[in-house]
Amino acid sequence: MQPILELQNLEVNFHTLDGVVHAVNGVSYSVAAGKTLGVVGESGCGKSVSVLSVMRLIPDPPGKIKQGKILFHGEDLLEYDDKRMESIRGSEIAMVFQDPMTSLNPVLTIGKQLTEGMMVHQGISRKEATDRAIDLLTLVGIPNPAERISDYPHQFSGGMRQRAMIAMALSCSPEILIADEPTTALDVTIQAQIVELTKSLQERLGMAVVWITHDLGVVADLADDVVVMYAGYIVEEADVFQIYENPLHPYTLSLLKSLPRVDRRDQNKRLATIPGFPPGGLTVLPGCPFAPRCSFTVERCMHENPQLLPFEADHKVACWVDVSTGRER
């Protein structure tokens, strides 16, 4: 199936006073219409930077997209001019952010913020836009939408704000919804509601979703395919069943081990953790970036960075070691 969005060998650097930060190093992934791609990894692994590049919203300077292509319907977004990009943002590719508390403008009413995009992109009147906004708020499950539409963001709870943000993202029926850790700031019940909401909306509207998270539980529920990112590289890529059934990269394995399980009650055991932190943006390791924290490290890992190579059909991994045997492949 033809992917609707495809990143090819994307490389993004930030030129800071301390030196060049390699945020994204040759990342490729794609998502097809109606499918959901989960992008997982710890904080600072380049997940957000890769999707902000899709929106062309990397602050420049200091950020620079050094190379790569971002194909939307086969056309490279990086070659679009600013005007054309503005018309794509919000209408064809929409985005939801992590913190609903800060992503809404505190001095504008919810209704004003919801209708603006529709009036710009679809050229409809304020009256029509308001009617649609009320429908959208109903769709995302906000009670009493006709009245709440003239509320200010501080009158909404956190969960309601995120629903309003999703309504805003959906307002122009985008083909792609990018969700950058949209549930991280919310509690577990609201998180589950937002995930369910996204699933049902996706089914109804048939859009592609790119869902960034560091919560593998959410991914299991939502995604069709999963990309695992570490230090700006993709270390493993597979469909969601393969990732959970047959993880091939030690990093994926460690992430899964650090998840609490409801079906196992080892009450005396602490959860497994990964020692240390991901390398900072200024650290350029000669070998595999995960090697210092990896429990499978062999000699080769320390001075040679593995390529992302297909292991089976639709299952790629970047590792020198076969985790089932613990030996070099």
Binding site: I88, R89, M95, F97, P106, L108, G117, V120, S171
Partner: protein, 317 residues
């Protein structure tokens, strides 16, 4: 009784809901707590009524009518505020002078706000070399003493603009000159305030969110960020009205401002200078009006500062 559907629940709870205040109502309530500010508002209303309502009692011809036989006469029943050096009625002149002084105060601030907001917003939002250029220009303007600039520009442009007719009234062209001059010599503080505000606001996530919905830069500047920094602009603008009135009085007093026969509170003081002892009514009345206006505007500005500050502590009483 337990409701079964969502609409029932809403209906049941609706009747017991206290209406929350809108932000505008909140500001209004906080403003009313500031007693001096309320006094200021009342005084300003009285002064405006005095200047513009008085025009129905006296015509402008009355204000400019000279009768040298009664020059320098003290307050009397016929001339409650006395007469000036050429026998004009001071009461009528304070009324028409008030109109011009208040007009200059307001219009100069409009010029100031437009220039200051534009320069501050563009510098703060775009940053980089645009910011550098605009801020160096602002600093350069700061470095020229405002009074000096006012005097030079007033002298340079003052005589070049002919009188203009608005409606049935004739204004000395110097009114427009003074408005523009005061406006363009006082925008720098405002530009700095607005720039500082924009610098911090543009990094906020809601601006990024606005970008992702395809909002254009212009609309982000004026519709998303500017409403967030409206509070300091209003406060600074209000206080500037007082400053503009004083500046006008200043240059008019030095004889370079609005030219007679058009009266302003400032140029009425000019004529009084030589008669401080012998004819005090000539400066007491316009002087008091200037002081009252400036004081009440400053009170209102203070009240607005507290009312518009979202962090201001308000105890509910």
């Amino acid at each position: 009784m337990q409701a079964t559907s969502e609409s029932d629940v809403i209906k049941l709870q609706e009747g017991f809901k206290a209406q929350a205040l809108t932000p505008k109502q909140l500001v209004w309530r906080r403003f009313l707590r500031h007693k001096m500010a309320v006094v200021g508002v009342v005084l300003i209303i009285i002064l405006v009524l005095y200047s513009f309502g008085g025009a129905f009692v006296f015509s402008e011809a009355d204000a400019n009518y000279t009768e040298t036989s009664i020059r320098l006469s003290p307050p009397s029943a016929e001339h409650p505020f006395g007469t000036d050096t050429v026998g004009r009625d001071i009461l009528a002149r304070t009324i028409y002078g008030g109109q011009i002084s208040l007009l200059i105060g307001l219009s100069a601030v409009i010029v100031e706000v437009i220039v200051g907001v534009l320069i501050g917003a563009i510098a703060g939002y775009y940053g980089g070399w645009i910011d550098g250029l605009l801020m160096r220009f602002t600093e350069a303007m700061f470095n020229i003493p405002q009074l000096f600039l006012l005097l030079v520009m007033a002298k340079f442009f003052g005589s070049k603009i002919p009188t203009i007719d608005v409606g049935n009234r004739e204004f000395s062209g110097s009114v427009i000159v003074i408005i523009v001059i005061i406006g363009i010599t006082s925008w720098m503080y405002l530009a700095r305030i607005v720039r500082a505000n924009f610098l911090s606001l543009k990094e906020r996530e809601f601006v990024l969110a606005a970008h992702t919905t395809g909002t254009s830069n212009l609309s982000i500047i004026f519709q998303h960020i500017l409403p967030n920094s409206i509070a300091p602009i209003i406060v600074s603008g209000t206080l500037s009205v007082a400053n503009a009135i004083i500046s006008e009085a200043y240059i008019s007093f030095l004889g370079l401002g609005v030219q007679p026969p058009t009266a302003t509170w400032g140029n009425m003081l000019e004529g009084a200078y030589n008669y401080i002892d012998s004819a005090p009514w000539m400066w007491i009345f316009p002087g008091t009006l200037i002081v009252l206006t400036v004081l009440s505007i400053n009170f209102v500005g203070d009240g607005l500062r507290d009312a518009l500050d979202p962090h201001a502590l308000v105890e509910a009483k």
